[in-house]
């Protein structure tokens, strides 16, 4: 199955370029806004790059989820799921292949945008060691978990649930404080934010930029909530069995 996804990447350069295109465009837009704000606002002078980091990390989460879901939808579009279901492929092997494809897509898309941010806007991540990398790992885990949940819905409801692939994460975006701390949310909404792993990641990222502190407790909270998503992967597996 890994080979199947590699063949798909290799057969179409426009697809690879498309992977880079949207993260690059998004990053560029926010980089210019960031530049403008840093010239006019003291807070962004202190922590220039926080908006670019936000958009790159958001794209990591989004591409992680989209990578899993689109790789699965690809099988539905080509009406290939029946062949896969009959083959000896185990559900966990299918899940691993989807995660591999998602990782590749995210690496190309977000990696390209990150490189462009470094070259064009002199953007750099804070030097806090491997901890910051683990923020990205947790975002990917959350993206994959959500992607697998959408795959389960696709198996259950078919392509009529396809819109979820694009829209589901944007429902979470305002809640997890990508560009602002969740304290700006109404009080009744804040408890909802606290059950989303990404909330702690974005909070931790801002803390690193504004105060130069890497708060490991935020990383641990995100990780623990992510681990709570594992039963959902089991649910996807069971649904695959019934496909």
């Amino acid at each position: 199955m890994l080979l199947r996804h590699l063949y798909l990447f290799m057969c179409s350069w426009p697809r690879v370029l498309e992977l880079i295109y949207w993260p690059f465009l998004n990053m560029t837009l926010w980089a210019f806004l960031s530049k403008y704000l840093s010239e006019n606002s003291n807070i962004f002078v202190i922590a220039s790059g926080v908006l670019i980091a936000s958009v790159i990390m958001w794209d990591t989460l989004f591409r992680g989820q989209l990578g899993v879901t689109l790789s699965f939808i690809e099988e539905l579009w080509s009406r290939n799921l029946g062949n896969i279901a009959v083959s000896p492929l185990k559900p966990y092997e299918l899940i691993c292949s989807l995660i591999f494809a998602s990782f590749l897509r995210t690496l190309i898309g977000v990696g390209g945008a990150g490189l462009a941010a470094f070259l064009l806007f002199d953007f750099q991540f804070p030097e806090v060691g491997i901890g910051f990398l683990l923020f990205f790992v947790n975002l990917l885990i959350m993206g994959w978990a959500l992607g697998l949940a959408i795959c389960a819905l696709l198996i259950r409801f078919g392509l009529s649930a396809e819109t979820l692939a694009w829209a589901a994460l944007f429902f979470i975006q305002p809640l997890c404080g990508v560009f602002y701390p969740i304290t700006v949310l109404p009080e009744w909404l804040q408890p909802l934010s606290l059950v989303i792993p990404a909330t702690y990641i974005f909070e931790g990222m801002r803390l690193t930029y504004f105060e130069g502190v890497f708060e490991i407790s935020l990383l641990i909270k995100a990780f623990l909530i992510n681990m709570g998503e594992l039963p959902q992967i089991k649910l996807s597996k069971n649904n695959n069995n019934q496909a």
Binding site: N80, S87, Q242
Partner: protein, 238 residues
């Protein structure tokens, strides 16, 4: 041997398959006949272990197909015009991917052999999505034979094909079975095809088997001249 025992599948209140009991001997060909919605495809899915039966069990090569799916699935395969291969991959890439999925030894040699047998030489480097219906059928059959299956499941293998190609496919299947002694389970609406290929027939209606036997026996039993007339008699009977 394939054995279905008290096999039922319910989707909520819909009873797609009801209490099927039958067995299929090695090296024989069984046809599942029935009108649309009779339960043929659900039965195929149950036999292949893709669907879990609500009640009953399927035994293939002495193993419960659902509990031993990994082992059984290496020895079976499937082709249907309604299930396609990834469109953006070439024929060779598809055969390579599925060859690896089935753990085929000497895969290059196997692909070469299938290329000759199914006349795929000119198609190997073409994307599946760009092929004609007939070409896709041959490629799909190549995928279904990549692991030399002991049991081959075919869902309407000649649907939408011109008579010449359909005959070519039937002849190929006959030769393949006589060479490999494989068992074939066939769901079809094409009665002459069933008469030609199958040693036994299960006729299904509303999820149940309403009659079974060899095509000759059924034609004689209903006093008709061919299987199509038998099918129409059963389908139109209240």
């Amino acid at each position: 041997m394939i054995k279905a025992k008290n096999l039922s599948k319910h989707f909520g209140k819909i009873h797609a398959v009801k209490d099927l009991n039958f067995f299929v001997n090695d090296s024989s060909t069984l046809a599942l006949l029935g009108s649309n919605g009779a339960g043929k495809t659900t039965t195929l899915m149950l036999l292949m272990g893709i669907l879990k039966p609500t009640i009953g069990e399927v035994t293939i090569l002495n193993h419960n197909v659902y509990n031993s799916r990994k082992m059984v699935s290496r020895k079976i395969n499937f082709a249907s015009p309604f299930v396609e291969l990834p469109h953006r991959l070439t024929v060779k890439q598809n055969l390579t991917v599925y060859g690896h999925l089935y753990g085929v030894n000497n895969l290059d040699k196997k692909i070469d052999q299938l290329t000759v047998d199914l006349d795929l030489g000119d198609l190997l480097d073409r994307r599946v999505g760009k092929l004609s219906t007939g070409q896709k059928t041959r490629v799909s059959l190549a995928k279904a034979l990549i692991n030399d299956p002991k049991i081959l499941f075919l869902d309407e293998p000649t649907a939408s094909l011109d008579p010449d190609l359909a005959d070519w496919i039937r002849t190929y299947l006959e030769k393949y079975q006589s060479k490999t002694k494989a068992t074939i389970i066939l769901a079809s609406h094409n009665m002459p095809e069933v008469e030609r290929l199958c040693s036994n027939v299960l006729i299904m209606k509303k999820g149940e088997v309403v009659d079974k036997g060899s095509p000759k026996k059924l034609i004689k039993h209903y006093g008709r001249t061919n299987l199509e007339e038998v099918f129409l008699t059963i389908a139109r009977k209240e």
